[in-house]
């Protein structure tokens, strides 16, 4: 690379498309969808018996949609803290993949700054960020923070608004809201399977996971059933893909 190119590259970090505000703008298409899920999460957490302060804390430091639904459900069912934390560890293990997939585009940052980028990583911000990499070798740190922080604030506000809303609804079951959680999981499952190019194996893995989750919950607790089903079904998926 000539000196001239290096110079252009340095200037590049101040370009319009690398700015914080561009990241904010690129987050906008995802806001409505996550606003509604955040509202639903707020309602579900409130009806599970959590206080507004606990819901605010959960969305601020846990900041993970499906994990918050699961935590709310398991707290309502008086599951043990260990079972809740292990279940959430497994549910959020997918972030390993998202974080790993983004790492080649953030090699220009120190580990500490990569930690800040990763701390607010979600499925949605990953989706927007990975779209950028089609025509880029690196992702701007400022742009990523703009994207992450916008999604984060939207999520926290939506959770608190949902919790406040739930106080006004005396009987949430009447509105079928307890089905919002399984419906969201169905949506996430279908959309992620359709977004990959291995539908047959994915569907087989999903069915195996369902059967094991139901069968093993007679032997273990239901949350251990989830963990056993995940380990066995993922291993089967890995082995079958290797053989093909």
């Amino acid at each position: 690379m000539s000196l001239e190119n290096v110079h252009v590259d340095t200037l590049g970090s101040q370009r319009e498309e690398d700015r914080f505000i561009k990241g904010v703008k690129d987050c906008v298409p995802t806001l409505l969808g996550y606003l509604s899920i955040g509202l639903a999460a707020g309602v579900v957490q409130k009806t599970a018996g959590l206080s507004i302060a606990e819901i605010a804390l959960m969305s601020l430091i846990l900041y993970a949609g499906s994990a918050q639904f699961i935590a709310a459900g398991m707290i309502a069912a008086s599951s043990s803290p260990t079972a809740i934390i292990i279940t959430i560890l497994f549910v959020n293990l997918r972030h390993l993949l998202l974080s790993a997939a983004l790492s080649p585009y953030f090699r220009h940052l120190s580990p500490l700054r990569n930690m800040l980028v990763g701390s607010l990583l979600t499925d949605e911000t990953f989706g927007v960020a990975i779209n950028q990499t089609a025509h880029k070798k690196r992702i701007s740190e400022n742009w990523m923070h703009g994207l992450n922080i916008t999604a984060y604030l939207n999520w926290v506000l939506a959770n608190i608004a949902g919790a406040l809303l739930a106080q006004w609804i005396s009987n949430p079951e009447k509105f079928g809201l307890e089905f919002a959680l399984p419906a969201m999981f169905i949506g996430i499952l279908v959309i992620s399977i359709l977004g990959r190019s291995k539908i047959k194996i994915d569907v087989a893995v999903a069915i195996i996971a369902v059967v094991i989750a139901v069968a093993s919950s007679f032997v273990f607790s239901s949350s251990m059933g989830i963990i056993v089903a995940t380990i066995i079904a993922s291993t089967i998926g890995m082995v079958v893909e290797k053989w093909k």
Binding site: S36, A40, S51, A53, E54, L57, I61, A64, S66, A67, A71, I75, P81, I85, I88, L89, R94, H95, L96, L97, L98, S99, A100, S103, P104, F106, P111, M115, V117, G118, S119, L121, K174, F175, L177, A180, L181, P182, A183, M184, I186, G187, L189, V190, S192, I193, L194, V205, I208, A209, V210, V211, A213, V214, S217, I226, A233, S234, G237, M238
Partner: protein
Amino acid sequence: MEVRLDVFLIILGAAIVTFIPRVVPLMVLSRFELPEWGMRWLNYVPISVIAALIGQEILMHDGKIASFTNNVELLAAIPTFFIAIKTRSLLATVIAGVIFFMGLRWFI
């Protein structure tokens, strides 16, 4: 507006186990790479976890297999799957699912 100690500890623990997989690969992967089988295994984890959760949500009630004939969750799940496949929209799926569930409960 209070935070109970046990709930606080659950949230803190959950936040820590969520934070680590979010940041560790970004921090260390420039030096160390997961073996190929490890990535492949991880690739199936989200689908397995979510399918297992759906299975328990819609097929089990109070630790027992729910009856197939008057299981509103299962009946609502079927059209919800179709909506998800057709629209590929999380928002549309959640709204449709809640409406199916609400409607079915009126009839059953």
